[in-house]
């Protein structure tokens, strides 16, 4: 069954360092998302991406964050200068359509900022 894959599964970084989280969405999906879940808290929307541009972003997704689809398969989330509060599980998701379809989530990338 097709699945969303994410790398790395766990990354430890120093505060102030840049981090890139990678995702390979399901191949025929057109909509891509990043969500995050701080330990013990709700899953929160970060950004949605369609047709090579950001469709929507939340207030969490500030100038330190960026997304890119550098080729036909990868979808990346970059955090320019990590803060302690960026420590969380980051989930990539994709969907074939919006409004009536489910999101398919990856297993997540756990980011620990020291």
């Amino acid at each position: 069954e097709p699945e969303v894959t994410q790398t790395p599964s766990h990354q430890v970084t120093q505060m102030g360092q840049e981090v890139i989280l990678r995702c390979v969405p399901i191949s025929n999906h057109l909509y891509f998302y990043w969500y995050r879940q701080i330990l013990g808290q709700k899953v929160e929307f970060l950004v949605s991406f369609y047709n090579n541009e950001i469709s929507e972003k939340s207030e969490i997704f500030d100038d330190q964050f960026s997304v890119e689809r550098p080729d036909g398969s990868n979808f990346t989330l970059k955090i320019r200068s990590t803060k302690l509060e960026d420590s969380a599980m980051y989930f990539c998701a994709s969907s074939a359509r919006v409004g009536t379809g489910e999101l398919f989530f990856g297993e997540g990338s756990r980011l620990t900022v020291l």
């Binding site: 709700k42 899953v43 929160e44 999101l103």
Partner: protein, 112 residues
């Protein structure tokens, strides 16, 4: 807040019993979805119910939606130890398609 809120926060039952989890939300929605998350793993979509639907079934799952009360329930019948997980409701509004608002989840433990 447009986010869902589940109750109970934790539910502990024996195998074979039914598990009922509830979700409430605050704004009008396009659809409501339930997801499952095993500890430390990704979210797995279980079922989606549209705002014009009142009940939906999928295997041992039954979801109801009451838009007048802005609430939904997820019933898992004849639960199994393998159903142990966190269950989240997530709402999608019509104007922000694809953006899901998640609740805090219900931690379900099914004892063998």
């Amino acid at each position: 807040s447009q986010q869902g809120e589940e109750d109970p926060q934790a539910l502990s039952i024996q195998e074979g019993e039914n598990a009922t989890m509830n979700c409430s939300y605050k704004t009008s929605i396009n659809n409501l979805q339930w997801y499952r998350q095993n500890s430390g793993r990704g979210l797995v979509h279980l079922i989606l119910i549209r705002s014009n639907e009142r009940e939906k079934h999928s295997g041992r799952l039954r979801v109801t939606l009451d838009t007048s009360k802005k609430s939904s329930s997820l019933l898992i019948t004849a639960s199994r130890a393998a159903d142990t997980a966190s269950y989240f409701c997530a709402t999608e509004r019509g104007s922000t398609l694809g953006r899901l608002y998640f609740g805090r989840g219900t931690q379900l433990t099914v004892w063998p």
